[in-house]
């Protein structure tokens, strides 16, 4: 059952097509000289400076670095939740700084899935409804919605919990729901901030394995922030951030 995956867009299926797609969107994310500072009392506190990097379609990137290094900030910028104070950012060939709110929300609906460090489930909604919410915004039909959610509940082993509210779940279970929600809309890219931060190691490994599978079999681009060297090994690239700059950019075989 575990491998009964939700099928992504047909164009991404099969090796040959994946390759061709891979060639077309060579640069899914292109950052040039990204800077981010917070001005407090007129003094600029730089969180990021001169971050320049490309992330291609189908990559599985882990961002690492010490606490306060700016990892979450960088991920937020990638997710267009925050704007850089300087530099240019192109997402799928489009300049993000010129995007209007409506366009950005279209991107959220169709391409980007978020997994938050603090889960961020909606407390007033049940597990089922939390997973359903992005599908509703995407205007996906009722039966399609039902089958997708059933799949995800099944895959994450939380069928029994579907009518519970977030505060009735353990931290790890909430994180699972958060991931299921991110996957529900079948995004082309997943941005995950310490997705396994609250999970016990066995569970963490399962999630990582799942990410790897999504990345390999469905070509979903994954960018995760993690503190764990072991988790980072599931991906194919590690960006080390320290003092606001990319210190190391290592490819994993």
């Amino acid at each position: 059952m575990k491998n009964r995956l939700v099928l992504p867009a047909p164009s991404l299926q099969g090796e040959a097509k994946e390759v061709s797609k891979y060639l077309i969107i060579n640069k899914m994310i292109e950052l040039k000289n990204i800077e981010k500072y917070y001005a407090t009392k007129g003094i600029k506190h730089y969180v990021l400076r001169h971050v320049t990097t490309n992330i291609k379609q189908g990559e599985f990137v882990s961002i690492m670095g010490p606490s306060g290094a700016g990892k979450s900030t960088l991920l937020n910028i990638l997710g267009m939740l925050e704007e850089p104070t300087y530099g240019s950012y192109e997402f799928m060939g489009e300049d993000v700084t010129t995007l209007n709110e409506r366009k950005r929300i279209e991107l959220y609906r169709n391409h980007i899935g978020f997994v938050f460090q603090a889960y961020h489930l909606i407390d007033e909604m049940t597990v089922y409804e939390n997973i359903e919410a992005p599908l509703l915004y995407k205007k996906i039909g009722g039966s399609e919605r039902k089958s997708r959610i059933a799949d995800l509940l099944d895959r994450f082993n939380i069928v029994a919990k579907k009518d519970l509210f977030p505060n009735q779940l353990s931290g790890g279970q909430q994180q699972l729901v958060g991931i299921a929600r991110a996957l529900a809309a079948q995004p082309t890219i997943i941005l995950a901030d310490e997705p396994t931060g609250n999970l016990q190691s066995a569970q963490a490994e399962e999630i990582m394995a799942l990410f790897q599978k999504l990345n390999r079999e469905e070509g979903i681009t994954i960018i995760q922030v993690t503190h764990s060297e072991k988790n980072a090994q599931y991906g194919n690239r590690i960006l080390h951030i320290a003092d606001g700059v990319v210190k190391d950019d290592i490819a994993i075989a």
Partner: protein, 796 residues
């Protein structure tokens, strides 16, 4: 999406059901009050609106240098119609100045206002006799109608609309009169009557001096009214100037002008008259709006209290692809559900309260009738309160940037701190103003009830009477002596008198009097012996009227202190005051007494027994011993036809203290309204505070737990939670004191006799609000304090 949102909204409301019901209940009550105000407002502003020519009808009045009046003379209307083509129609009416007694067998009707109108006026005013308005046949023929209610009194079983012959006066008078049918007496009109008599022309032969009529004109649509007004003034002066040669009179006439007052003004703010009803209406509307706003603020404040939580929801939904307007509509829909529910509840509450409201304002409103304006007003109100209550979440909450709210320790408290606190302060300020107002109105009313009036109305019975007792005999009046003798034979009746006026607040007549060469106008009251004794009025100098002085019925006068002061008299007793071509000898000075209530100062007044220039002496007053009151009244009723044969067999009386008490009615109305308003605002504000405090303490449970672990005592925590609320309530008091001071001072100034502005209400309002706040907040704080810190910190 909408279905899910709705489901979640309902679930949310249910989960916070106590707070929800508090909010919805508070709003429902406020809305009920507002609905009543709206209904009252609609009612008060739509008098005569059913008249098809509502917007083109004007009353023609006259302006003298020192007063304005609606009373005009019969020839004026005719002249206006003849001279100005833009005046489509002009007619006159005349109020009934006498109370008619009408009889049909055993049924008796006392028609207080049997009006007269010419056919034109009847047409302008859209009078509707059953079967339609008919034109009287000849020059002098009249068509008389009784209002449907009056007709019911005389002919309870009448079903046809045939003319009837009714007896006039007592049953042995032998006078009958023809009533042509019944007529609708629209109580929602400025023209009301018990009966009306319509002629082709009324007031024939009366000249420009007979200003006893009201003139109505109907102009053609689009008429330049200001211009017409000027033309009518010119016409009026010309008419008066005809044949006038006396230079002084000509000058006087030139100072008179006329005005046109729209029919729509007549009920609330007639140009000739006072606009107190209008002011009261406006004040009432302001009260209603304030109460509603205060209830809406509860919603906003609760939204603010929940904001941190809701902001997270906003952030998440946005990154999942929700547009801002979707969130806005979601929030509005949530508020709308509650408002809708509140509206339904409000209608029920309004329906329950309506009888009291109708009773208080002496009207007859009802919620459930087809042409009720509420049908379109209510949805409007509903949308409005949804907007007011939902504006904060709809605009501010929905605008949160996801990055801000989703990042770690986001808290909206800083941004909304000012807004939420100012809203609370505003609510409490209004409540404080109402409390102070209520206290001050109460003190003034208490003062009015307990203050020495200068006369005693207790145990004084006022008898309605139609016989004239003027002396010397005038228009076939009788001498009161024989009536008095017969009355005094009844055990328990201590004294009896008759006068032109009773001290019931009504204004007296005025006339010019000269004292030592100084001419001035004085109020006059024509009395009989025992007038002062019956009313227990205090003597200051000299003596009262007495039968042992034969001159008293000829030229003796008693004046009051104010009259002495007005002329600056020294030792007035024995001196002469001249009026109505009589040299009156002042025999006594009485202390002032408040015949006109507390609003106007006691007028300088002269009391005489003989006054050829005076009014009809018809008002009989008796002083009766308390314990023999019932017997005496029964005997009077039985013997009345023998005692006072000309009045007929209908003995009707009122107690003077009740009559005088009616003067306080307006103030008592105000007191009731204020009482309700103050209670409501406090109640609603406290409800809001309760819910608000609940949220705040819930939000601080973790903080409280940590403090407790760090060793804070319960008292310290109570203080901590109460402090910020106390500061706000104190601030509210400080803000509202000057406002309340100015408002109540203004109100007190409408009384000639009033209390000094007391300090106590200001102190009490502070005390009350502080106490209520501490209690309300502490109830919530108690839960947080009692909670086990471990529970609160478990999910850290």
């Amino acid at each position: 999406m909408f279905k899910l949102n709705l489901k979640i909204a309902l679930r949310n409301l249910w989960r916070n059901r106590i707070i929800t019901s508090i909010n919805v209940g508070g709003l429902a009550i406020a809305l009920a009050a507002f609905i009543l105000v709206v209904m009252y407002f609609t009612y008060e502003t739509s008098f005569d609106k059913t008249n098809p020519n509502y917007n083109n009808i004007y009353v023609v009045g006259r302006i003298y240098p020192d007063f304005k009046t609606n009373y005009t003379s019969p020839p004026f209307a005719k002249a206006i119609k003849q001279n100005f083509p833009e005046v489509e129609n002009a007619g006159i009416t005349k109020r009934g100045f006498f109370e008619f007694t009408m009889k049909n067998g055993k049924n008796t009707l006392f028609a207080k206002n049997f009006m007269q109108a010419d056919y034109n006026a009847a047409k302008i005013l859209d009078l509707k006799p059953t079967g339609g308005l008919e034109k009287p046949a000849g020059e002098v023929d009249r068509l008389s109608y009784l209002s449907e209610e009056s007709m019911k009194v005389l002919y309870p079983n009448k079903t046809d609309n045939k003319p009837e012959m009714v007896g006039m006066g007592s049953s042995n008078s032998g006078i009958t009169s023809k009533i042509n049918g019944s007529i609708i007496n629209n109580l929602h009109s400025n023209i009301t009557f018990d009966g009306i008599s319509i002629g082709n022309e009324i007031g024939q032969g009366e000249n420009y001096g007979m200003n006893n009529y009201t003139t109505y004109i109907q102009v053609k649509p689009g008429t330049d009214v200001a211009n017409l007004e000027q033309k009518i003034t010119k016409l009026y002066r010309n008419e008066l100037l005809k044949g006038e040669t006396d230079q002084k009179t000509i000058e006087e006439i030139k100072s008179i002008s006329t005005f046109l007052d729209p029919l729509s003004n007549q009920h609330l703010k007639p140009k000739a008259g006072n606009d107190a009803p209008y002011k009261i209406l406006i004040a009432l509307s302001v009260l209603g709006i304030l109460i509603l706003v205060i209830a809406c603020i509860n919603f906003t404040n609760l939204s603010i209290a929940q904001a941190t939580k809701r902001a997270k929801e906003v952030g998440i939904k946005k990154v999942m692809g929700a547009y801002r307007f979707q969130l806005t509509t979601q929030f509005l829909a949530e508020i709308f559900i509650q408002c809708l529910f509140a509206t339904v509840l409000a209608l029920i509450v309004a329906e329950l309260v309506l009888p009291y409201f109708n009773n208080l304002f002496q009207i007859n409103l009802s919620v459930w009738h087809i042409d009720n304006d509420l049908i379109w007003q209510l949805p409007l109100i509903l949308c409005l309160i949804t907007l007011i209550a939902g504006i904060y979440p709809a605009i501010v909450l929905s605008g949160f940037k996801p990055a801000l709210v989703l990042k770690g320790n986001f808290s909206t408290s800083k941004q909304s701190y000012w807004l939420r606190n100012s809203l609370l302060v505003f609510q409490f300020s209004i409540a404080v103003i109402f409390i102070i107002g209520l206290f001050i109105i109460n003190s003034q009313l208490k003062y009015m009830r307990s203050e020495d009036l200068g006369f005693t109305a207790n145990q004084v019975v006022y008898i309605k009477n139609q016989t004239l007792f003027n002396n010397p005999v005038k228009f076939g009046s009788l001498n009161f002596e024989s009536v008095r003798d017969k009355i005094l034979k009844i055990p328990g009746i201590k004294s009896a008198t008759v006068a032109t006026d009773v001290p019931d607040g009504a204004e007296n007549g005025t006339n010019g009097y000269t004292f030592e060469g100084v001419q001035s106008s004085l109020d006059f009251v024509d009395v009989d012996f025992d007038y002062f004794e019956t009313l227990d009025i205090k003597l200051k100098q000299g003596r009262f009227f007495s039968q042992s002085f034969s001159t008293d019925t000829a030229n003796s006068a008693v004046i009051n202190e104010s009259a002495v002061a007005k002329y600056g008299m020294k030792n007035p007793v024995g001196k002469t005051i001249k009026g109505c071509n009589i040299d009156y000898k002042i025999v006594g000075v009485i202390k002032d007494f408040k015949a006109q209530g507390f609003e106007s100062a006691v007028q300088p007044t002269i009391y005489t027994i003989k006054n050829p220039c005076g009014n009809y002496k018809t008002q009989i007053m008796l002083k009766i011993e308390e314990n023999k009151m019932a017997d005496a009244l029964a005997t009077l009723k039985a013997q009345w036809p023998q005692i006072n044969p000309k009045d007929g067999q209908d003995f009707r009386y009122e107690f003077l203290d009740e009559l005088y008490g009616k003067l306080f009615k307006k103030q008592e109305q105000l007191q009731s309204v204020f009482f309700a308003a103050a209670l409501l605002t406090i109640f609603i504000a406290i409800l809001g505070l309760f819910a608000f405090a609940k949220y705040i303490t819930n939000g601080r449970i973790k903080e409280i737990a940590v403090r407790k672990i760090l060793g804070a005592s319960d008292i310290q925590i109570f203080k901590l939670i109460n402090r910020s609320f106390l500061v706000m309530v104190l601030l509210a008091n400080v803000i509202s004191w000057p406002v309340a001071y100015i408002l109540t001072k203004k109100w007190l100034e409408t009384f000639a006799y009033r209390i000094d502005l007391p300090v106590l209400p200001f102190m009490s309002s502070a005390l009350i609000t502080i106490l209520l706040t501490v209690i309300t907040v502490s109830i919530q704080a108690k839960k947080a304090v009692k909670a086990n810190p471990v529970d609160a910190l478990k999910y850290e």
